[in-house]
Symmetry: C2
Subunit: 282 residues, 2 copies
Amino acid sequence: MFKQITILAPGLLGSSLAMAIKDHGLADKLVIWSRRAETRVKCVKKLICNAVEDNIKDAVCGADLVIICSPVDVIASIAQKTIPCLKEGCIITDVGSTKSLICRNINAVVSRHVTFIGSHPMAGSEKSGIDAADSKLFLGKPCFVTPLVETPESSLEILIKFWSELDMEVITTTPEKHDEIVANISQMPHLLASVLCSYLAAKDSNWKNFAGNGLRDTTRIASGNPELWKTIIEQNSDEILRAINGFENELQSLRSAISNNEPFEILNILERGKKYRDRLRS
Amino acid sequence: MFKQITILAPGLLGSSLAMAIKDHGLADKLVIWSRRAETRVKCVKKLICNAVEDNIKDAVCGADLVIICSPVDVIASIAQKTIPCLKEGCIITDVGSTKSLICRNINAVVSRHVTFIGSHPMAGSEKSGIDAADSKLFLGKPCFVTPLVETPESSLEILIKFWSELDMEVITTTPEKHDEIVANISQMPHLLASVLCSYLAAKDSNWKNFAGNGLRDTTRIASGNPELWKTIIEQNSDEILRAINGFENELQSLRSAISNNEPFEILNILERGKKYRDRLRS
């Protein structure tokens, strides 16, 4: 599908993506750039690409598709560094879990000879780094693609086809709508898990030995990398705060219903929650 | 270990318990009482016991151990009905996930010829009923046993041995301490999942198609039976409200940190949460 794809800054997502691209035969040549020598050595050992570069400009030279897989706070600066070296017609995208700020910052600096379109494959894990890479990480998962009104239709189609070829279900929306949706269905739920664990950490440390599967499942994502999540919060703070406020209002309703001994209102909230959960795809 | 064990009102827990007792050979005779004809037929078909009774007094007659597996709000009244029919020295227990109110109510009516001691095996599922029964449900899970000061040591030892034989890890504590612990590590987390789903139910219904594993895991327990959970809340409302308040204070800290753009405080909460979660046993 592409003569050359270049992946920049592979962590869990980037290295899993390299493996998936190889498995699906989507690139004649797959190049990886990492600033860390240790990661470059692992990429070679794991045979997940055709070339590994320590110079970012060499890495993107000749690429038809460049995918930035770094933490969200450095995506725009990596893009800015590489844009002058990209060949005419190159598509550049990213896998960051926030979109508005990234798309705004990159589109302010992008040249006419290339196209930037944001992506967010909703695949991940509480684990991180190349050692946890998994070529099947993307299978059947949703992937947001966030074009702007001025994005050329042809480039958008190519990018949608790329993610679809990896068996992802592509959703096209604006960066702003993406950020609202993801704050609600992913980032705020993650933060609730973190806050729950942070709250319980102040309790008797023996209690955690009594925890059942419920607490374990509910809090799994709280094991995610705090540094990565801090930058995600910073990049999408307005939508996350709105989602937290909405959740808190609902929690207040339950609290009042319990305080005031209102069984029908308690049941109402529990039933609404169950109905929603039962309809989540497995 | 016992000549006769009688299980009253088997749902998921009671029928799983019957299967586990059979597997471990803990009773010469296992009797089940259910008020529902459909459940009695299933008990016979599944061969999970030696006798099925539709009369509760016949079911408990001759038992050395009686285990009440009904929803928490009817445990005390079932106990009260059966106590006059129990043989001298019988131990009666339950599997309810609240303990203070149940232990208080039953000990107010228990006769001297038998001993009631509350139990709470921390095993369960978002599923319910005999069709979801699983003989391995209890393996390696915690089980609370909540004696009172006046509980005879010999009866307590027998009950602890019973749960231990099912490969459960027994924790002995007061009913009140149990309720505090479980409100924090089980009931409040369950309610957060319900409230999160209830909140999301009011959003665009397409959003749930974009959910990743994070939301799915975080909210799995929200599929639990609302009627059962409503009664659990009613029976342990004080401790649950205290736990919700504690959680809300922590959530407020995160919200302030985000609003005021305090990266170190955000990181602090995320790191405290990760450290706690990483130490939860798998």
